[in-house]
Assembly symmetry: C2
Homo-oligomer: 312 residues x 2
């Protein structure tokens, strides 16, 4: 898969074959280097976001398995600059442990490294255990623009943490994905059932209910997400993300219901992102993310990028 | 669905609600107006390609059903300019008949209209009966750039016909899509079978075989396509298109095999497009398109567009 990403994007990226790392084709000095990664199976996350205006490197682990600290360190070593390195990890114990270990090795080698952990999934009550899901892509995009504009390591980290604070996501699934090694489904779900709040590796959700209409799904997701924001005088970016096998036709049907409901709730929408941004292989389902914006975040969100998977 | 496309892209498009037509937000005078369309279920085709540098309007029929001539004429009437209108239709009897009828009505109303029919699917031997599939998006992109640059109706038509002549596509499916009205699958296929050369509405293909590896699929598709070209001293654009439910992970695995095989065949690849460009609802499968380029086509292909679904 990584060879495929590299070979179809040779103008933008290169592949560190021994480390499963996709890096920008031309290393850019004098900017903070941004690195993300995690288990595979979430494409276009994360290698699809490597390039001008977003990530400097993406480290890929096996399917749904964290990359090891050595490979993460190899990525750091490849893209490090005098301005330092920011790691963006999703809040899973394996990812957090391995990214922190790699950061430690890097610091022992006198490389300035900071870490930001994304935990946008509101399906988990306890913020410490909240998983990082599709909202992570907003962190890549906005921190990526901040780094490209020449901000310092601390400034880019602060911006990334503001995005983490401002983004919340909730997902639903209609059908699981299947492990390529065992052929087994990532969870069991009846044909007319829907699972609410599940994770992007098939972790259990909040509840399993009977199939719902698009309108009911929109209501379930948006109503819950709105509890986390004071929407007065605020603008929001909305991401409607396919988990892999849900086509654009269905995303747009859902988008209509979300937009109607958003207007009924006086939610001020700055713009929409509707596509497959962070998938779970061929899982059927969607996630909805809300990102609270301010003028600086809007400016960074609008920064034009050049990456294998376009996010503009 | 059309409401969803409109509401999530209000900066780029508007919706003619009574005619199921998506048009550019700001009508552009003094350019050839480009219109495409067809049955729904192929998203992002065609409404996702309306905007600066591509289509001026897309007419949507019901799922897998041609739009009626009245709606096509309404689209023509909305976006027509003094430089004329070019219709791009896929080679299905319903589409061809209805687009021609709409053209006739338009001519009776003193509107200059030309039609180009796309027939890139090599699964059908007889060129007259060849279906239009994913290669159609290259026609939108290149003719769209030609129109945006101010070329005349005849020039844009000539360019579009050159793309039609230069693009060939072949697809395979692993699982059908399901009719939203009947709930029935678009065709029957065993769990370990693969159908070669089928159409984007589930029309029968050339053969049904046992499941193949990614490498075997790459070989089957590319070898057949290469029969249609003299590749010496030529450059090609390659499109690897998901039919809806095949995720980017699998497309990239296939891309690696296609690229290896292309190099073994001394195929000179200018660039790749890898995504869901023309789907068949939630069908599992892919299509591979080869487009022979020349310097003018490359120039037009590189033209930056602003459409709901990014194609840059």
């Amino acid at each position: 898969m990584l060879e495929g990403i590299y070979k179809t994007n040779k103008d933008k990226v290169k592949l560190l074959k021994d480390s499963d790392v996709i890096v920008r084709k031309n290393k850019k000095e004098n900017k903070v280097a941004l690195i993300s990664g995690g288990g595979s199976g979430h494409e276009p996350a994360h290698a699809g976001y490597v390039g001008y205006g977003m990530l400097d490197a993406a480290v890929a682990g096996p399917v749904f398995t964290s990359p090891n600290p050595k490979n993460i360190f190899n990525a750091i070593n490849e893209v490090k600059t005098d301005k330092g390195v920011l790691l963006i990890a999703k809040n899973y114990s394996g990812d957090v442990m391995n990214f922190k270990m790699a950061a430690k090795i890097a610091r022992n080698n006198d490389i300035a490294v900071e870490i930001v952990i994304v935990n946008d999934d509101i399906a988990i009550e306890d913020p410490d255990n909240r998983r990082g899901i599709a909202g992570t892509v907003f962190v890549h995009k906005i921190a990526g623009a901040a780094a490209e504009k020449g901000m310092s390591l601390q400034e880019v980290k602060n911006i990334a943490e503001r995005v983490v604070e401002n983004v919340k996501t909730k997902g639903i699934a209609l059908a699981p994905c299947y492990s390529p090694t065992t052929g087994k489904p990532s969870f069991d779900l009846g044909e007319n059932e829907i699972e609410i709040g599940l994770g992007i590796h098939g972790e259990p959700g909040i509840e399993i209910t009977e199939m719902m209409s698009s309108k009911e799904i929109a209501d379930n997701l948006l109503t819950d997400l709105l509890n986390y924001f004071d929407i007065n005088n605020k603008q929001f970016a909305i991401m409607i993300n396919s988990l892999g096998a849900t086509p654009l036709m269905e995303l747009n049907i859902l988008a209509n219901d979300i937009d109607n409901l958003a207007h009924n709730n006086n939610l001020n929408i700055y713009n929409y992102y509707l596509n497959s941004y962070m998938t779970s292989m061929e899982m059927k389902g969607v996630s909805l993310s809300l990102l609270e914006l301010d003028s600086e975040l809007i400016d960074l969100l609008e920064f034009k990028t050049k990456t294998p998977f376009l996010f503009n």
